[in-house]
């Protein structure tokens, strides 16, 4: 072997990028909950632009290149449009609380149910199999439209997309695991003005999806102990409620943040809430609402069969009452208490009527 072949070839190395690193010398340290998103909000990396000029998809805080392609036509690029105070926390919690519908539901506890009860459960499962992923489809679309500078909020929405896939799936599995089947769809989420799908503004969408839609479902899931017929169903509702609580919290915290940072939008938000409240009990999207077929099924489940429909119906009223109460609590927490005091909202009267 000649000496020349033993000499390693020398390559040219462009290291000019090394002189263009962003803020340097950062050492975020893990805390009690590991190294969380909150822990890495250090120096300039924790600074959130009120208006994002990031149109190239770069990570927040990295060095911008003047020649980078402007590929991110981000519709949401103003902080107040999407921000919330506890995004890091909600995201980390979502990671800690993921579950599997294949292995975390005690499916073996399913036992044959009387036909009317199985049918009622299957109708409810059909409803949820249908509507759960509205909360996947729609947040997904908004992730693509939001500047990556608001990474923490986008990551919470990504976790929601994941959660909703699991919800869609757990209800399908339940419908097909106990001698029943899917039933008739509801059409509750469809393409008409005022639906969650078609909102052209993020906050409008979030008000409908997170506050009123998922809020009503959360209250219902929380009461799954009352209508779940076995441990499998009760577990299913409990785990879904845990996820929904995060989704609802996103909406409440976002609305609070918006109302504080963009007070000029308050009246517009009040109008969305007016619309939402009209639909709260009357709309199809609330499975316990007055117009929903699923509320009949729910009453059958709550009573334990059609022969106990009246009894079941009394319990359904308890669910509705709690939905109204929790809705008001959320809207108050979001900073819109006035509407319940100045007569604008019909909800206090509806709530009083259920007493």
């Amino acid at each position: 072997m000649s000496e020349a072949t033993e000499m390693p070839r020398e390559h040219e190395l462009d290291t000019s990028w090394m002189d263009n690193m962003a803020e340097w010398g950062v050492s975020a340290k893990p805390g009690k909950r590991g190294l969380t998103l909150a822990d890495i909000q250090v120096g300039s990396y924790g600074e959130l632009p009120k208006v994002s000029d990031n149109m190239t998809g770069r990570p927040r805080g990295s060095t911008a290149r003047p020649e980078a392609y402007r590929v991110g036509a981000y519709q949401v690029h103003t902080l107040s449009e999407i921000w919330l105070e506890n995004a890091e926390y909600l995201y980390e919690e979502a990671l800690q609380r993921q579950w599997s519908s294949a292995t975390d539901i005690p499916w073996h506890t399913l036992k044959p149910l009387p036909d009317d009860v199985e049918e009622a459960e299957c109708l409810l499962c059909t409803f949820f199999n249908e509507v759960e992923f509205v909360a996947g489809d729609v947040p997904a679309r908004w992730i693509a439209r939001t500047t990556p500078d608001y990474l923490e909020a986008r990551n919470v929405l990504s976790a929601q997309v994941m959660d909703e896939a699991r919800h869609m799936d757990v209800f399908r599995k339940r419908a097909l695991a106990n001698g029943g089947g899917l039933m008739r769809m509801s059409g509750a989420t469809s393409g008409f003005v005022g639906s969650i799908d078609l909102a052209r503004d993020f906050t409008e969408m979030s008000t409908r999806l997170h506050i009123s839609g998922e809020g009503a479902v959360l209250t219902m899931f929380r009461m799954g102990e009352l209508f779940g017929q076995n441990d499998a169903e009760k577990t299913m509702y409990r785990l879904c409620a845990q996820d929904e609580a995060r989704h609802v919290a996103f909406g409440v915290m976002h609305l609070r943040c918006l109302s504080e940072t963009a007070p000029e939008r308050r009246e517009e938000i009040e109008c969305y809430l007016d619309e939402a409240e009209d639909q709260l009990m009357a709309g199809q999207q609330n499975p316990a609402g007055r117009q929903s077929e699923s509320s009949e099924a729910l009453a059958v489940l709550l009573g334990g069969g059609i022969e106990h429909y009246d009894e079941g119906h009394k319990k359904l009223l308890v669910i509705r009452r709690r939905q109204l109460k929790e809705y008001m609590k959320r809207v108050i927490s979001a900073g819109f208490a006035d509407r319940f005091e100045n007569g604008r909202s019909p909800v206090p009267a509806q709530y009083a009527a259920t007493a």
Binding site: G57, S100, K173, M183, M185, T189
Partner: protein, 361 residues
């Protein structure tokens, strides 16, 4: 079955169900009772629990080639006329399908990981400045790749019909994977005395994001072209990991990425065998895409950063570090051509000259 159930429903004594109208409580009509296309389905969990694919039984498992319905009607359920449509524009199976979607969905859930608490952050040790810079630059580059993947998936997801829900569900896991990768890479860059680097010029990100003609076209660029390269990058980074934290991150990213590529390749196979000119379209796209990829490879930031990581610093980067990176690129192009061949896409004859050069070494 439907008849049997309806007759049961009809036998209910409706007269006794009068309720207080002030409460807005209608008398139960039970119109929904008996309305099913298939009843008596009882899927029993297997050794891995009750998996999404397990419930594809009878008519519930029938996946048609075209899905007319623009509502969220669950597959197999009874429809309802008069529902205003939603903008589901991907309605042909060949536009999105991959047989492995249901399995990948369950696998993603079983293999979830938590950067905050599972990455052994305390294993991080101070690295030489040039090496830390290279690692941080790679975190920046890979973040932008993950961001592109996240944005293109979420752009298409809500256009995919409910009839192919397995794909939507699998893509929901991929969305979450991308978010987690953005998180993990950012955490690594900001936790060891470094910081982020300079953004990518974004040539390949651009061709992926601009592929708005169809999801399949995006998959060609996202997975077949760039994804195949990313596998090699992650494998290289894993083999040169400086500590357990990095090894954990790269190995888990590789696992996630392997699922994404499995879907991507499988979908392209399905598209190319179920749509007449799909392979020819892919060939055209790749001829264009290779040029952009070649230009990005030549820009050299990733090559330089990887060479520094492989070479243990700038000095080693100029010799064996860069040699190793060039081998990595050669392996990528070999993988790429192999997969193209398997998909029936002819790329060998007209392979981009820069790709050829890398291949020849």
């Amino acid at each position: 079955m439907a008849d049997k159930l309806s007759s049961k429903a009809a036998s209910v004594d409706r007269e006794s169900k009068i309720v207080d109208p002030t409460r807005g409580v209608p008398e139960p009509k039970y119109e929904w009772r008996g309305l099913t296309n298939e009843w008596d389905v009882r899927v029993i969990p297997g050794p891995h629990g009750l998996r999404l694919g397990d419930v594809n039984v009878g008519s519930y498992g029938e996946v048609p080639d075209y899905w007319e319905d623009q509502t969220r009607r669950p597959r197999g359920s009874v429809g309802r006329p008069g529902i205003p449509p939603l903008p589901y524009s991907l309605r042909s199976k060949h536009e999105l399908w991959a047989d492995c979607s249901a399995d990948l969905y369950e696998e993603a859930i079983q293999r979830r990981w938590i950067p905050a608490t599972e990455v052994p952050w305390d294993s991080l040790q101070t690295l030489p400045d040039d090496v830390e810079k290279a690692v941080c630059q790679m975190c920046t580059e890979l973040s932008q790749c993950a961001n592109t993947e996240l944005e293109i998936i979420t752009y298409w997801q809500d256009r995919m019909s409910y009839g192919y829900f397995e794909v939507k569900q699998y893509l929901a896991t991929a969305t979450f994977d991308c978010a987690r990768q953005l998180e993990a890479l950012r955490k690594r860059a900001l936790s060891n005395g470094g910081g982020l680097g300079i953004e990518s010029r974004g040539r390949v990100n651009r061709i992926i994001l601009e592929s708005s003609g169809g999801w399949t076209e995006a998959v060609v660029y996202l997975y077949l072209l760039r994804g195949t390269y990313i596998t090699r990058l992650l494998t290289g980074l894993l083999s040169a990991a400086h500590n357990e934290a990095e090894a954990f991150i790269y190995s888990h990213m590789l696992e996630d990425h392997a699922r994404h590529l499995t879907y991507g390749y499988d979908h392209l196979k399905y598209a190319s065998t179920h749509k007449d000119d799909a392979s020819l379209i892919m060939q055209t796209l790749l001829a264009v895409g290779e040029a952009h990829m070649a230009a990005e490879l030549k820009e050299g930031v990733v090559g330089s950063a990887m060479a520094i990581i492989f070479g243990g610093g700038i000095k080693g980067a100029r010799t064996f570090g860069m040699e190793r990176y060039l081998l990595l690129v050669r392996d990528f192009i070999t993988d790429y051509l192999t997969i193209c061949r398997e998909l029936g896409i002819d790329r060998e004859k007209t392979l981009h000259p820069v790709f050829k050069k890398y291949l020849e070494g």
